[in-house]
Assembly symmetry: none
DNA sequence: TATGAATGAGCTTTCATTCAT
DNA sequence: AATGAATGAAAGCTCATTCAT
């Protein structure tokens, strides 16, 4: 029973930390502020977690696996290789735009937070790039897409998504993300040689 | 004569600051470390610059205008609209990859460094996106490219370039920059409806 | 229980700060020195108080209200208007001479300590001058003292008291406070037209 | 010839320092600001003076001896003992009110400026108190004033003058110093048993 | 478990003073 | 004589982390 309570406390601290990090960024988020947001004390935070960095890392991992799970589910729900590719992209774009602050936090902010965190952020980038790449590879293998350096394409796509979403977060560009999606979809698919409306284009 | 020395010192502090910022990020770079790297004292740094933030901003502006100048020169050297587009892209890619640490510093790291710096980083993103967009608009106007949301495309391309280059530090991909260029070029141009080998594709 | 300890610590920091301020003056009193004097650390001081200035202001207010309370009590204990005037003077003189270092600190030293503190010191001067003046006004209204510019008189008296007491630290004069009181009493009262021994003098 | 120039430079630095000290107070007056005000450089200041403190002390002494000279002249110009007393008072009040900023600087501000300066400020107080006291003693010896603790009276008068003038400097009290003089004169003289209009009062 | 007081290293910045030129 | 670059010892303040209760 006590363990249940402890677990709940731990989770509430994590939620609070997420909010504070998202609001203030890694450096400006003080442990005090996190404790206050979680309605506990600094000591309470340190009882559950060994350091501020650890909390950030935990949140990072949690966000990453949630996103991964969603993406994998979306991909699994499609049969067609190209549709799987699109599912991967759409899930990422969708998740980013639903949680702009987190996207900013983990994709941008986190990069200024010291060696350890940096490395994991890079790993996260790599992971999602890989996820997209896997779908591309499958599509290439299935002949749905002409051969191409899929690693590079995945990386480029990920970066494009990232920029568009984080740009959207604080400017007004683009004004509407859903509309942007259709343009990006065209841009991406035609880029790899698919006519988004009729399948593979003739050479 | 003293002025010459002072100018040299000032420059050496700027160089040192650039190295330290690139190595540690804005927050983790202490003025002490910058002074040490420049073989001077903290007071010396403050004699030449009013604040750490000012130094960062100065470096940022310097890098931005160098890149802008290069890009504009490269664009001006081409006549064909599509070639101008390619020139813009290539310059950015080239510059970024020659100074990956700076690209990381100014495009990623700096975004977590406080209001003033954030604003200028955003402005920098906007500026280079605009630079690319201008070429796209010209190409569309010239009929070299079918109509498209050029703002979004420029943003996506910028993000793609950014990600590919800053991702380089840790991955093994791409093995070579020129190769990557050809892939990206194809990806980008086909994305907007140009056959990179034969010009505009038939609808 | 912890709160008791915290309160005690807080108070001990205040006492320590008072000693250090009195010894060194506002500017020369470092927070480090205050912490050392209070057998705690700089961080400890800042845990209990938000700034050095706040501490000074707190001490200032505390001293002022203690003095005010004493003076008001002494005044209330008298019925005769002239006796009230004397009570105000005596209380101030007594308090100042019992805490010469504080008088010096708050009446003299503090005046060079920045806008906020200056304003409050001025207010303190004004307050005690006013306190004396009120008694003078009452005495004038009661016909115990001939009409006079009571504001100016109160100011002059306050300054005289201040100088006599703060000057003590270095001179040998006056040998004894009670003796000084009788001299000052005579000086002050005769100055406003009262024979200190027989009441109002004939015109 | 060069010595003449050096002397002029030295003096111009002193004047500049006086202005800066009066404007900003001892602590806030930086040597840089003094150099700038004197149209020279920090090094120039240090060529002529060994330290900031020395400069302040020099100015203090200079102001003190100027005031002393004026007071002594004014005193010497009178024959009557009581008139001499009044001359001393009036000179001090006059000087203070003509140079409010300096009065504030040397009588108030300076007190927060470290041991050495503090001691000299005290000496200055003592000196002027002594000057007034000497006239009082002479008046007592001449039978113009009944016996009294002249040291204490002089101190009280000095303090009263000081408070009235410095109060005048930043509040509006008293509204007119010349008017205040007549009130103070009455206050002071009657205090020591002199009817300011008809000489010594009957016991 | 949880609290919050306490620590101390670290930060940016200021400035009196020194010194090569 | 004079300059102004350079120094370095502070200063006030913040905050991740520790620890007695």
């Amino acid at each position: 029973m006590q363990q249940v309570r402890a677990r709940a406390r731990r989770d509430s601290i994590l939620e609070a930390a997420l909010r504070v990090f998202a609001r203030a960024g890694y450096h400006l988020a003080s442990v005090d502020a996190i404790a206050r947001e979680a309605n506990t004390s600094k000591g309470g935070v340190y009882f559950h977690f060994p350091s501020k960095e650890t909390i950030f890392l935990l949140l990072l991992d949690r966000a990453a696996s949630q996103l991964r799970a969603r993406a994998e589910a979306a991909i699994a729900a499609e049969r067609d290789p190209v549709a799987k590719v699109e599912a991967a992209l759409w899930t990422v774009l969708d998740a980013f735009s639903a949680h702009r602050d987190l996207a900013r936090l983990f994709l941008v902010e986190g990069a200024a937070a010291g060696q350890r965190i940096r490395e994991r952020i890079d790993a996260l980038h790599a992971e999602f790039t890989q996820l997209i790449r896997d779908q591309l590879d499958a599509a290439v293998a299935a002949g749905a897409i002409p051969p191409i350096d899929t690693a590079l394409v995945a990386q480029a796509w990920f970066g494009a998504l990232n920029e568009v979403v984080t740009g959207w977060a604080h400017a007004d560009q683009p004004s509407s993300l859903p509309e942007a999606f259709w343009t990006l979809r065209r841009l991406f698919l035609r880029g790899v040689g698919i006519d988004p409306d009729f399948g593979v284009e003739p050479a």
